[in-house]
Structure formats: structure tokens, C-alpha cells
């Protein structure tokens, strides 16, 4: 048995060397969680600050000044230009120096005091539609609050209010997102990297020598996946640290529980990786299968970005077999709610069942002989 351990040991050392020698891939793998937390963290924020506002006020009066001051005093807005004619706005939009224009009608105060519906025109840079509508919503909120304050009737300022202003998504979106990101990084390293690395061994023909040796398939599998498991856990730590340092994402529950769940989830991914490598005819096919079969569902069908509740019923059924869906519930529960096993045992049980099924399939698919 002693020599067997040393064979496994040698295998793990060899695998570590492959990972360490491939500098490009290693750099990507190490920086990825960091970059993803930061990029996605900012990108997925529905919250926008520093909206550059152009004010077009043909006939300045006390009402327009008061509303303009509201915008000037609001930290989200920065008035970059004020003009009496609309000509100024267009070039600023084209140059990308303005995000939103607020155009008052002539004799704004007079119109308000008469109680007739008064139209305010808001023009947003909608090259990114989401950002555009969010900015418009902010502006509407400012206008609505002004209108409430001066006690005008509900009809006085007619701008359709948007629901979005009722959210306050600034930090919450990052909080919800980080658990999903951890799942994504774990899937990437376990399922994708393992299947690539194992199918490379097949493609190069080195597997042929490994098979004609006393190594059993489980030793080859174990030697192959152990280094990736370590790398994956290291990445969980990086992602958590980055989330905490950059976005002050809270961590309310047990770190040990989260790491244990990560190991469980990683093993599901590793089994998938081995299974994919065993079935894929080439390295390229394995990579594509891993991307389509694990990364896509992980990103789209796990509740990471799109809430599962908003999916059509049949797609909701599909999400039940996506491991990331369960892991994200666990990670969010531990990180954001601080709950423990009492609340998460069901999800953990589902992952365990998935692991057992996939592991059996993986070991069976990895035959000690060629077909």
C-alpha cells in the first residue's frame, strides 16, 4: 500500500507542476475571482451616480430655479451645463459629455400656479437602455418629491413615475451576486479545468502509459482532481476577500460551513469534469461540453443573475438539476442571512445525492481499458 500512496503522491506533484508551469492559465485562474468580483460587482449594480445633467430652461423663474437647485443638491446629479436654448444638449450627448437632459417648458412657474398639467421633458442617453431608464427614474424621483413639497396637485407635474426608484439596489445587488460568483469560479476550475486536463492526457497519449501501469483509475482520477480542489478553495477565499474589501459584502454565518459546502460543490464539479473528459473525443470537445454543460447553466439557470422565480415553469424545472442553484442558496444563506445546517440541510442533501450519482458515473466512465 505504501508504494501506492507514493504513486498517488507523485501524480499529485506532477499535476501541480502542470498547473504551475502553465503560467498564462494559472494567472487567469488566480486573478479571475478577483476580476470577476470587481467587474461584476460594478457592472451588476443597478445604481448609478454622477449622472451628468444638462438643464434647458428657456424662461428661468422661481420654480425652475427651485427644481434646478434640487438637482444641484442631489449627490447623484451633476449639472454640467445650463442653457436657455435646446441647441446645447445635442453636441454634449454626441460627445458623451452628458447623460440626461431636463427641459423646462416656457413659463414653468406660471403654468404650475394655474394648476394645468405641465410637461417636463427628460431626455436620457439610452445607448445603454437600463442605465437610461434608471437615470430617468432618479430624475423623476427628484421631480416628484419637489412636486409633493410645493403642495401642487397630482396633475401639476405630469411625468410617469417608474417603479425602479422604489428599489435601493446599490449594495444589495453585489451581496446577492457574490455567492453566485463563487459558484461560477468553482465550476470553472473544477468542471472545465479538470475535463481539459484529463482529456489532454488522453489526446497526448500519456493516458495510454498510465493505464498500462499499476495505477488504478481511481488513483488517476484522485491525482488529477486534488490539485484543482485546492486551487478552487483558494479561489473561494480570494473571492470572499475581494467582496469584503471592495464592496463590504457581509459574512454573517460560519466560514467552516461555507468551505465545507464549497468542497462538496467542487466535488460535484470535478465528477462532472471527469465524466465529460471520459465521454469527449478530444480536448476541444471536452472544453466546449464543459462550457455549455456547466458554465452556461451556472450563469443563467442558477438564480445567480436572473431570479429563478422569473423563469418560465419548464425552465424552473430544469434548474433543479443545476448544482449551482443549490449551492447559491447555501452560500447566500450562510453569507447574508447567517443561517446554518438547520436551514440548509435540504440543499446540502441535494448536492450530496448529485455527488454520489455523478461520482459513480465518473468512475464507471473511466475504464481501465480502451473500448
Amino acid at each position: 500500500m505504501a508504494d501506492r500512496r507514493s504513486a498517488l503522491h507523485a501524480f499529485i506533484v506532477k499535476e501541480m507542476r502542470h498547473i504551475l508551469r502553465d503560467r498564462q492559465t494559472l494567472t487567469i485562474l488566480l486573478l479571475l475571482p478577483l476580476a470577476m468580483v470587481v467587474l461584476f460587482g460594478y457592472a451588476l449594480r443597478n445604481d448609478i451616480t454622477d449622472v451628468r445633467l444638462v438643464v434647458i430652461d428657456p424662461t428661468p423663474d422661481y420654480a425652475t430655479i427651485a427644481l434646478r437647485n434640487r438637482f444641484a443638491g442631489n449627490p447623484r446629479f451633476e449639472i454640467v451645463a445650463t442653457s436657455q436654448t435646446p441647441d446645447l444638449a445635442e453636441p454634449l450627448f454626441r460627445r458623451g459629455d452628458a447623460d440626461l437632459a431636463l427641459a423646462f417648458p416656457p413659463r414653468f412657474a406660471e403654468s404650475l400656479s394655474q394648476g394645468v398639467p405641465t410637461r417636463l421633458l427628460l431626455v436620457g442617453d439610452a445607448s445603454d437602455p437600463n442605465t437610461g431608464s434608471t437615470m430617468a427614474a432618479y430624475a423623476t424621483a427628484v421631480i416628484t418629491s419637489y412636486q409633493t413639497e410645493i403642495g401642487a396637485t397630482g396633475q401639476a407635474v405630469r411625468i410617469v413615475p417608474q417603479l425602479r426608484m422604489r428599489f435601493n439596489p446599490t449594495l444589495e445587488s453585489v451581496n446577492l451576486f457574490v455567492p453566485g460568483l463563487i459558484a461560477l469560479v468553482l465550476t470553472l476550475i473544477t468542471a472545465l479545468m479538470t475535463s481539459i486536463s484529463l482529456s489532454r492526457e488522453k489526446e497526448r497519449g500519456t493516458l495510454e502509459i498510465l493505464l498500462v501501469s499499476p495505477l488504478h483509475p481511481w488513483q488517476i482520477i484522485l491525482g488529477k482532481v486534488m490539485p484543482y480542489l485546492l486551487l478552487a478553495l483558494g479561489n473561494v477565499a480570494t473571492a470572499l476577500l475581494a467582496a469584503w474589501a471592495v464592496f463590504h459584502v457581509p459574512f454573517r454565518g460560519s466560514l467552516v460551513l461555507l468551505l465545507s459546502a464549497s468542497v462538496l460543490y467542487s466535488m460535484v464539479g470535478l465528477s462532472l469534469g471527469v465524466l465529460i473528459a471520459a465521454l469527449a473525443p478530444s480536448q476541444r470537445a471536452a472544453m466546449l461540453a464543459a462550457l455549455a454543460g456547466t458554465m452556461l447553466p451556472n450563469a443563467l439557470l442558477s438564480g445567480m443573475i436572473f431570479p429563478i422565480a422569473s423563469l418560465p415553469a419548464w425552465l424552473r424545472m430544469v434548474t433543479y438539476v443545476v448544482p449551482a442553484r443549490w449551492f447559491i442558496v447555501i452560500a447566500r444563506g450562510i453569507m447574508l442571512k447567517g443561517v446554518g445546517l438547520t436551514y440548509l440541510w435540504k440543499e446540502l442533501a441535494v448536492l450530496t445525492v448529485m455527488l454520489v450519482v455523478l461520482l459513480i458515473a465518473a468512475v464507471r466512465s473511466f475504464k481501465p481499458r480502451f473500448a
Binding site: 504513486a7 507523485a10 507542476r17 502542470h18 497526448r204 497519449g205 500519456t206 498500462v212 499499476p214 481499458r369
Partner: protein, 324 residues
């Protein structure tokens, strides 16, 4: 050797009636031969003859559809694990890790077999001494010949009791090929039985015995000289100014049995096995001179292994089979 012999005294490798097909393709058809103790046995045949399939069956990677094979007295189907720790195998493509150094590759394969470079040193020394100066170089940066030597070291480091080398010289330059066969000759002296396959017929002469394989069938098994001696017809080497035209003219000659290029000459065999060689040479010279060839050289030769193989391979499926 009889069937009553105890396992330890049996031939290190015995193949009996092995057949294997892949869907509709017949890869091996009723293959039988044996490799004796301390023998360097060459399996010679063109690409696609079934050599690699046979190697994979013998190294337990594939199961034959029918027939049996024993390696070191162990059944290749039943005794999978016992065989795997006792054989050395170098697959067709030199299977090394290009990102690992020479030493790391060797040390890895040693560990996989539960040994170390130091323990295997005695057997690999003649080969490893040549590549040791480059032990820190990555295997991917080695020349073809050096890769081949490293792969051989990796297959030998655990002191196997039999060595399987599948086309070790394919894609390697001529000098390295010659060196490699010298190394095999040296290894053979240690008593290690070796089964080696090649598509280069000139390498057959370096073996103790060879098996000629074509389209999944063994055409002949014998010592190279014995195979050469079986050549049935008068054989003549011809040289002339225009080789291409020469081949055509010789093929058109009424008594031609076979004509094929051989180096910068053309080998011509005559269909009249009983006719005196001198007469044939004289007639041929007259025929060729009459066809306008100059710079003409026509001389009788005795057939080599390659001629014998050309002869055998040209025959239809029903073939000569020597007793193993």
C-alpha cells in the same frame, strides 16, 4: 515447448489465434506467434496492418474478440493488473509530458511503478547517461531522437520483465534510428525479451526473428535470413540512366514477375525460377540495350529480407506461415 510446461518455463509471450475487429474493420485476424526468452522480436508491416491493435491487446488495453494471449504466462484478459506492473510499454506516439523536464518525466513514471530513478538506474544507465546532461530541459524541447530515448527510459525504469515498443523509430532521423537499434541490441544482451514493431523493413535485419504482418494477418514468422532465403525467383539488380522509364520497360518485359525500385536501383525478379541466372542476365541486358538505355548495369543478387517481404506482401491472402 509443450502445453504441459509450467508457467515459468513458458515463452514470455504467446499469441494464439487472436482476432479483433472494430465494427466492420478487421484489425487482426487469427494472429499467432511467440516471443522466446531473451529474444528481440520484430513485428514488421505497413501502416494500418494491425500492429498497434496487437500491442494494445498484449498490454491489456484491448480485449481480443477471440483467441488468447499470455504475457509472462499471464492471461492478457484475466490477469490485467498482474501484467501491468511487470511490462514496459512505449506506445506509438512518444507519450511524455512536454512541460515537465527530462528528470521529472522519468521520476514520475518511476514513482507510478513504485520505484525510483536510482533503483532503476542499472538498467537504464546505457540510455540515460546520454540524456542526463539535459535532465533539466523540458521534454517538449528535446529532439526526436532524445525524446525517443527518454521514452525508452520511462518504459524501462521499473525493470520490466518484457518490453513492448510500438513503432519506436517512426518519425525519427536515420542516425537516431540506428542508435536506437544499437541500444535495443545492448538491452537484449541483458536477457530482456523485446517485442518491437516497425514499418521500416530495413530494420527487420536487426531482430532475432520477425513476424511480417499485413492487413491483420501474419504472413511469415522466421529469422530474417531464413525469410530472405525463401525467396523463390532469380533476382537481378538493374541500374540505368532513366529509372522511371526503366521500371516501365522492365514491367513490360514478358518474363517479369515483379519490378520495384530499391534505393537507386531497380530490383527485377524473373518468373522463370528454373532458368540459369547467366542466361537471364544476358537476355535482359540485350532487351534493355535494345530499348535505348545507357549507363546500364545488370547484376544478379541474392534476395534480402526486404525482397522477401515485397514478395510475400504481393501475394494474395493465402500465405506462407512459418511455425513459431
Amino acid at each position: 515447448m509443450t502445453d504441459h510446461a509450467v508457467a515459468s518455463s513458458r515463452a514470455p509471450l504467446e499469441v494464439r489465434g487472436v482476432s479483433r475487429r472494430f465494427e466492420e474493420t478487421v484489425a487482426l485476424s487469427d494472429v499467432s506467434f511467440a516471443v522466446n526468452a531473451g529474444e528481440l522480436f520484430g513485428l514488421v508491416g505497413p501502416d494500418g496492418a494491425g500492429k498497434t491493435t496487437l500491442f494494445r491487446i498484449l498490454t491489456t488495453l484491448l480485449v481480443p474478440d477471440s483467441g488468447t494471449a499470455t504475457v509472462l504466462g499471464l492471461d492478457v484478459v484475466r490477469d490485467l493488473w498482474a501484467i501491468r506492473s511487470r511490462v514496459g510499454y512505449m506506445p506509438g506516439r512518444f507519450s511524455l509530458y512536454p512541460d515537465l523536464s527530462v528528470e521529472e518525466n522519468l521520476s514520475f513514471f518511476a514513482s507510478v511503478f513504485g520505484t525510483s530513478i536510482d533503483e532503476g538506474r542499472a538498467i537504464i544507465a546505457p540510455i540515460y547517461d546520454q540524456i542526463e546532461p539535459f535532465k533539466d530541459r523540458r521534454a517538449g524541447a528535446l529532439s526526436g531522437g532524445m525524446k525517443q530515448k527518454l521514452a525508452l527510459c520511462c518504459a524501462l525504469v521499473h525493470c520490466p520483465e518484457i518490453l513492448f515498443l510500438d513503432e519506436p523509430t517512426t518519425g525519427v532521423d536515420a542516425v537516431s534510428r540506428r542508435e536506437f537499434w544499437d541500444l535495443l541490441g545492448a538491452l537484449k544482451k541483458s536477457g530482456l525479451p523485446i517485442l518491437v514493431s516497425t514499418a521500416y523493413m530495413d530494420e527487420a535485419t536487426r531482430c532475432d526473428r520477425v513476424g511480417l504482418i499485413q492487413r491483420g494477418r501474419i504472413l511469415a514468422v522466421d529469422a530474417p535470413a531464413a525469410i530472405a532465403a525463401r525467396y523463390p525467383n532469380p533476382l537481378i539488380a538493374v541500374h540505368a540512366n532513366e529509372r522511371h522509364k526503366l521500371i516501365q520497360s522492365l514491367r513490360d518485359y514478358q518474363h517479369a514477375k515483379s519490378v520495384y525500385p530499391f534505393g537507386d536501383e531497380v530490383h527485377y525478379s524473373d518468373a522463370r525460377a528454373a532458368k540459369a541466372m547467366d542466361d537471364i542476365v544476358a537476355e535482359l541486358r540485350t532487351y534493355l540495350a535494345g530499348s535505348g538505355f545507357t549507363d546500364l548495369r545488370v547484376k544478379p543478387i541474392s534476395a534480402g529480407v526486404e525482397d522477401a517481404f515485397m514478395e510475400l506482401m504481393g501475394q494474395p491472402e493465402a500465405t506462407v506461415r512459418a511455425a513459431a
